[in-house]
Point group: C2
Chain length 315, copies 2
Amino acid sequence: MRALIWDGARARVAEDAPAPAASAGSAVVRVSLAGICSTDLQILEGYMAFKGVLGHEFAGRVEDGPRALVGKRVVGEINFACRRCATCLAGRVRHCPTRLVLGILGADGAFAERVRLPVENLHPVPDEVPDEEAVFTEPAAAAIEASVQSAGFAGGRTAVVGAGKLGLLVAQVLAARGDQVRVVCRSAPARETTLALGLEAVSLRDAPRDNDLVVEATGDPQGLALALELVRPLGAVILKSTVAHHHQLDLAPLVINEVTLIGSRCGDFVPALDAIRTGLIRVRPLIEARYPLAEATRALEHAARPGSRKILLAA
Amino acid sequence: MRALIWDGARARVAEDAPAPAASAGSAVVRVSLAGICSTDLQILEGYMAFKGVLGHEFAGRVEDGPRALVGKRVVGEINFACRRCATCLAGRVRHCPTRLVLGILGADGAFAERVRLPVENLHPVPDEVPDEEAVFTEPAAAAIEASVQSAGFAGGRTAVVGAGKLGLLVAQVLAARGDQVRVVCRSAPARETTLALGLEAVSLRDAPRDNDLVVEATGDPQGLALALELVRPLGAVILKSTVAHHHQLDLAPLVINEVTLIGSRCGDFVPALDAIRTGLIRVRPLIEARYPLAEATRALEHAARPGSRKILLAA
């Protein structure tokens, strides 16, 4: 089958990648659309030392697996957990220590014609949600996780640093729960997208320095230092960016101002699909372009341009 | 008067330092005992760019000020707040943006015969608490703050990294609230002090990697990376160390494991004095040596030796 393969040095579209076969407990999904995430670009920089088929955001149709699922339009949670260990049984399934992660850790991803996932990871997509929107379920879930983790700050003054794909999803969720959200925009296009989503855009110069909550979603190791400048004492910073490079920063302000820094990764798919279905999260203004899978390397280049929004791959 | 003065390049004992005079709202305290904190040593490395009389841990007797206070044995909170601004009125007095901090920021400290503090900052010391114990009120308050900030993890598995003065105070507080506390010890003397306090000591090799809560109190920029290795996914790390040098570390584990990092500085004196009075916090095993103020530079050298416990200065 056709797939985008990263061998640790080069990303290329292969026409002869081995197609996955369904096994006990797993299903094969015919991918219709996949989304390029900043994490994919970080993998090309060495993040997670992953090799294989890239891609963890997708929507598709089950082609092989349990009869009840075959033919269903689905999205899929990216953490493949054992569901038996102490961590899983404590309800922390996304943190299973022996997990594989779709297109990130030990499991071939969704920039391919077909992808295999554990049956438990699949969620049927409501008819009202087209593939172009369903493909955002994974980042929308990650955005909702930021809200879950900062519940104590709901309704407060919130700044989102990084008006990228993920930042604008988080900003929508936090605005919906009643936060006074300001999105810090560094470019005119970022500002435009922010306004198109009904969010408030501010320049870095005009951003208030006394936010109760700051979301760092720049994808840049420098972003955290900036976030720490914008948060008030005893406030919180949600760190969303996973980067291949080391952070070098002065953490004294975190200690002196008794700031809480919250690492935030993946979230629950059920509320995410619901938020997309009801329009609580709007994703269409976040789509920049769509490429056929055959042109996936060109699509990656496009996704890497500063300020680009979501690039989709049609398999 | 006699005082230990740091001029930005050299610490020296002056005999002719100007004695402070009481003014409206402030009192002058005759210092009896002061304690050297790792923060003092960090100031000698450039932390906070402070210049003046060092020292923020002390016990003494009010010599001049409001009549009701004169003659009283006291300890003093180190943050001098305006008590009028939005931050103060929100109850975050220790974070007043225009605050001075005793011996750390804009206010001469307590390594002197006399020190001046705002009247509101002074707390009478119960008769049962001798000066040798009262001088620990400031770090004991900082230790209790760590417990307040991690209330959600009470009763869980806790590791304290850094069996120093502050680490062993925090460990006592967390053990008292029911945490299963293990103190990670790197040296035989640290192990001895830990055991003398009735706490469990472990080597780094034997420390469990699945702690719900980890307290980083090493005073070393490397300590945080170590703490992140010992905490379970969705757990928390309390960062106590303020260091003059930059942290250089990989924060990806914090994001991937969705760890919460909590900056922690100062705490409330009232429960701290009470914890010392009742023996909930034991401080005597933490005393290493006592020097006269005239030998303060020698005392600083002693305090800087790796593994040294609390060095006291008698004014």
